[in-house]
């Protein structure tokens, strides 16, 4: 229990970009385990509160199926429908598009069921992201002249999860945090890499953003590849 409290306290100081918090994490006996504990605790707490937020959002929203039925019943009484519905094929196609559109709208409606699954999925996602980003950032930092070990790098980058705490505000339905969690997280990662690897500001900045640039390049290449295949299919067909 003391370990969790200590990790959370460290996370609080890391949130305020205090370099000594990152240095303390780097010097910890086992920074990876300490970081993992912090990530899991933050992930579970945020997911639990987000679940409450989703329940409140669901309770604040009128039933979508009732609205769908009302709209359909009124629409089928409109003058244009009387003409159009004489063609059975039109009715068939219309109903298919109608159902598809409402199922798409349904995807954006609050769903406490999927929020419940997030209690497991969110910490898991945070851990996977931390490991992936940590590994790539470590390689770039070392390439740029950094001195920290992988374990130390993962330890300090675990502190970059601290801004996720802001997601507890999702307990309020329709709360939008914009990019504040991501931006703050990047600033924490920069401070962590700079402190742990003892890099000057410019190299630390490159080590922080290069994993994102790499991910962006991979996404763009994938998009180009996908559109290339699509174009070949269109031209071929």
């Amino acid at each position: 229990m003391n370990g969790i409290v200590e990790s959370l306290r460290l996370g609080g100081r890391a949130l305020l970009l205090q370099e000594d918090a990152y240095e303390e994490m780097r010097l910890a006996d086992n920074p990876v385990v300490k970081g993992l504990v912090l990530i899991v605790v933050v992930g579970v707490v945020v997911a639990l509160l987000s679940f409450i937020g989703d329940v409140l959002a669901w309770a604040s929203t009128p039933d979508l199926n009732t609205i769908k039925e009302i709209v359909y019943s009124h629409m089928t009484q409109m003058p244009w429908w009387k003409f159009a519905s004489q063609d059975p094929q039109f009715v068939q196609i219309f109903n298919r598009i109608w159902e598809l559109n409402w199922s798409l709208i349904g995807l954006f409606m609050p769903d406490p069921g999927s929020a419940l699954a997030n209690i497991i999925l969110l910490p898991l996602g945070l851990v996977v992201r931390w490991l992936l980003y940590g590994l790539v950032a470590y390689l770039f930092a070392r390439w740029l002249g950094g001195t920290a070990t992988l374990s130390e790098t993962l330890g300090v980058l675990a502190l970059a999860v601290a801004p996720q705490v802001l997601n507890v505000l999702n307990v309020l339905p329709q709360m939008h945090l914009g990019g504040v969690v991501a931006i703050w997280g990047i600033l924490c990662a920069y401070t962590g890499l700079k402190t742990a690897h003892k890099l000057p500001w410019d190299r630390a900045a490159w080590a922080t953003v290069l994993p994102f640039i790499l991910a962006l390049a991979v996404s763009l290449l994938s998009a180009c590849w996908a559109t290339g295949i699509l174009a070949a299919m269109v031209k071929g067909g």
Binding site: S60, P62, T66, M75, L169, Y190
Partner: protein, 243 residues
């Protein structure tokens, strides 16, 4: 507290000593966050009140019906395609079907009482604005700091962000936005004043002269614009190449 307010007031008048006094206060970064959040919340308090009122008052079907009728009147008067009697007739029949539909939709109740869900929605929107302001302050501040360093200045990230947070204070003029005619002008003055304070704060914390501080503050706008433009052009070229 009085001392803090005096410092903030003097900083708005670009007094060097006030900036030094702000810089020497402990936990500059935390102070910056609190300042941005407080100013955003205060500036948005009227907007919060209006949203709250709109959210909790019962749906006024009659006023919705009236606005739809008004819109149709405008179309009938000015839209040439509505001059055709058949189109006109169809639009009126549609209207007769739409109004009862809106009445029925408005009657659908959410599980939570309207007052509670309305309050939660208004509160969320109010706090969201503050959080988005914090995100913008951090994002732009980090970019400006890069240019400060490139132009020969230097500052630690948390100290820099804490210092430039002073730019938010003239945003309090946003509180006066609802004043007819004058409101928009006051918001514009607040925005320009905020930029001037940002430049001054950058100059003091980064150790740059005024010219280089201006360059550091405006450069990210151009860089972001050029970056977005080049991505769009590249994407367009790629699509042009493959299709």
């Amino acid at each position: 507290m009085a001392d803090l307010l005096r410092t903030l007031g003097r900083a708005m008048l670009l007094d060097d000593q006030a900036y030094q006094a702000w810089r020497e206060r402990p936990n500059l970064f935390l102070r910056g966050i609190v300042l941005i959040v407080l100013v955003s919340l205060v500036a948005g308090i009227l907007s919060f009140a209006v949203t709250l009122w709109l959210q909790i008052k019962p749906v006024d079907v009659a006023s919705i019906e009236e606005s739809i009728h008004q819109s149709l009147e405008w179309q009938l008067r000015f839209n040439p395609s509505f001059q055709d009697p058949a189109v006109r007739n169809m639009a009126e029949e549609m209207l007769n079907a739409i109004v009862p539909m809106i009445t029925d939709i408005a009657a659908v109740q959410a599980p939570l009482p309207r007052g509670i869900s309305g309050f939660l929605t208004a509160l969320s929107q109010w706090l969201s604005r503050a959080m988005i302001a914090v995100g913008g302050w951090m994002f732009y501040g980090a970019l400006v700091l890069i240019f400060v360093n490139l132009l020969g200045g230097s500052a630690k990230l948390p100290d820099f962000l804490g210092m430039v947070a002073l730019y938010a204070v003239p945003g309090l003029l946003g509180l006066l936005q609802p004043i007819p005619c004058l409101g928009g002008t006051l918001v514009f003055i607040g925005t320009v004043w905020g930029i001037v304070v940002y430049i001054k704060a950058t100059s003091v914390i980064g150790g740059l002269d005024a010219g280089r501080a201006i360059l550091a503050v405006v450069a990210p706008i151009f860089v972001l614009f050029l970056l977005a433009l080049s991505l769009v052009v590249l994407w367009g070229l790629w699509l042009g190449f493959i299709f």
